[in-house]
């Protein structure tokens, strides 16, 4: 505690330099927090969404992995028939073919995501808990049920027309209650209508609902054995795949933020090294008075750690504020909080900041503790 006080006094004796170094660490840490918060936000949003998906198995064409929202319709009616037979033999509850269509561009605020459902299948089979706020939940042959957010964004009301192609026009027949999930951004339409628009008889994915007591992994493997050319993914597998993809993306983003972190580390090292050179005589006096090498080592190292920790805490705060600002925008645009500063990210950021201080402070601390007393006091 006393050494900490000495360190604090020394940093306060050189306020401008300490402040500039602190700002360097702050910018480095906040940029890292912001970069990594996207991974955390995506992870949270994705897992929340997947945990809300009703069917336990999603069948996609072989070679497609992950969530099949944008999968090209490659599953043929023959494959669906074969799956139905296999499913019947395995005693599954239901097989629901589905088709996805995206209209729009890169900007999510002007894009539309359609999901085709077979006649008689309402959105709540795929997204349990979804309810109609207005109108009906199950669309008719030429009707559509619209998620809350897309309805608000595009000012759709009951009876509003939806033109999918020059020849296909639907009417809004239902608007869903807000769920905070993926369904808020989807437009549910009859599957035959989407097939007509795309000019195909195929499907993007087949969703398999299980009976109580059935094990998703076992059923998935049995379906793959029974029907060649398909990949049956359980929710757990999708989650694992998503986690793997997110980890890779985390690493890439951490790699980018390493540049800023390295600059921050060099700033701390430079400040502490300068401080050591300026205080050689002071360290000599301390050693002459009876301070051991370890005392000087701790004094200098603590200075670097304190700078890094303070910069880290402030950087974490700034990163959190920036993350909240980004979430305000993405919530408004796509209804999802894409950035999250989670406790584990906070701990990681503080750990990285402290490691930065440790690495930056080790060499100056070692040098300071090894200065011969006679040289430090100028008594040679």
């Amino acid at each position: 505690m006393e050494v900490f006080y000495l360190v604090l006094r020394n940093l306060m004796a050189r306020p401008v330099r300490s402040l500039l170094t602190l700002l360097g660490v702050l910018v480095a840490t906040s940029s890292m927090v912001l970069f990594l918060s996207f991974g955390e936000g995506l992870r949270r949003a994705l897992f929340q969404e997947l945990s809300r998906v009703g069917p336990a198995i999603q069948v996609v064409p072989e070679g497609v992995e992950g969530f099949g929202l944008s999968a090209f319709p490659e599953i043929t009616p023959e494959t669906l028939e074969a799956l139905k037979q296999a499913g019947e033999a395995l005693g599954v509850q239901a097989l629901v073919p589905t088709l996805f269509l995206t209209r729009g561009g890169f900007d999510p605020s002007t894009s539309f995501f359609f999901q085709g459902l077979p006649p008689g299948v309402a959105p709540d089979l795929l997204y349990p808990g979804v309810r109609a706020r207005e109108g009906r939940l199950l669309p008719s042959e030429r009707g559509a049920v619209v998620g809350e957010r897309v309805a608000k964004r595009s000012e759709l009301a009951l009876g509003s027309p939806l033109r999918l192609s020059p020849r296909v026009e639907l009417r809004v027949e239902g608007i869903l209650e807000e769920t905070g999930g993926l369904a808020d951004n989807l437009i549910f339409v009859p599957l035959p209508v989407l097939q007509e628009v795309l000019g195909t008889k195929n499907y993007s994915a087949i969703l398999v609902a299980l009976n109580p007591g059935q094990k998703a992994e076992e059923v998935a493997r049995a379906l793959e054995r029974a029907v060649p050319g398909i990949k049956a993914q359980t929710t757990g597998e999708v989650m694992r795949f998503a986690e793997r993809a997110l980890r890779i993306s985390d690493l890439v983003r951490f790699g980018i933020s390493l540049v800023a972190l390295t600059v921050g580390g060099l700033l701390v090292a430079n400040t502490v090294m300068m401080s050591v050179y300026e205080r050689i005589r002071e360290f000599g006096v301390m050693r002459a008075l009876g301070a051991r090498r370890g005392f000087i080592f701790r004094l200098v190292l603590l200075e670097a750690l304190l700078l890094a920790l303070l910069g880290g805490v402030l950087g974490l705060g700034l990163g959190g504020i920036a993350s909240s600002a980004i979430n305000l925008y993405t919530l408004d645009q796509v209804g999802l909080a894409l950035s999250a500063v989670t406790p584990r990210l906070s701990l990681f950021a503080l750990g990285v900041a402290l490691t930065l201080g440790l690495v930056a402070g080790l060499l100056p601390a070692y040098n300071a503790s090894r200065i011969p007393v006679v040289e430090a006091l100028g008594r040679v």
Binding site: M12, G290, V373
Partner: protein
Amino acid sequence: MLKAENLTKRYRQGEKEVVALEGFTYAFPKGATAVVGPSGSGKTTLLNLLAGFDLPTEGGVFLGETPLHHLSEDERAGVRLKHMGFVFQQWNLIPTLTALENVAFPLLLAGWPRGKRLKRAAELLEQVGLAHRLHHLPSRLSGGEQQRVALARALALDPGILFADEPTGNLDAESREQVAALLFAQGEARTLILVTHDLELAQRAGRILYLKGGRLLREEVLKVPQGQNL
């Protein structure tokens, strides 16, 4: 008792060997001993070796039975903390600490609790006439005041040996007298080793050692040391 036996220090300066001190043998008794001599006579080297700042090329320094020259750097630092106090010509106070904190610093190294430490430091500063300057940084003190803070710091752990290296070298006449009086008042109860150019100051000690060319020329024992009553 602090003893030097055949203390020798040689440096290499390029191809040339420089003998800074050679064959110095002396046992420092209690009381004040002044070490005098011209520049380059080996005074500073002698103090460096006696205090354990540096190691001799030959010979050794003994504190009682402990050979300082056989101890590690940290062990010598421990001996200095426990048994030695220092007053330097340049005062060498820690610039970011107040007078009170500077005096309390050796007590911090010795592990004293904060309250006890500050109480002892305040008492010492009062003894050197600086009770009104406790919370001043060194930069706000005059040279004489800084040297008195340094003296208070040297006395913090009540060491048996007090080293003073040109303690009045940078002071005006009035401050010089104040510091000298305080210093020699300490010399009666402990071993005071005073390194100086100033013969007038040296004559206030009980003994004077004359160095020249790195050798001890002679020892002069004054019958009536002039002490603080000069």
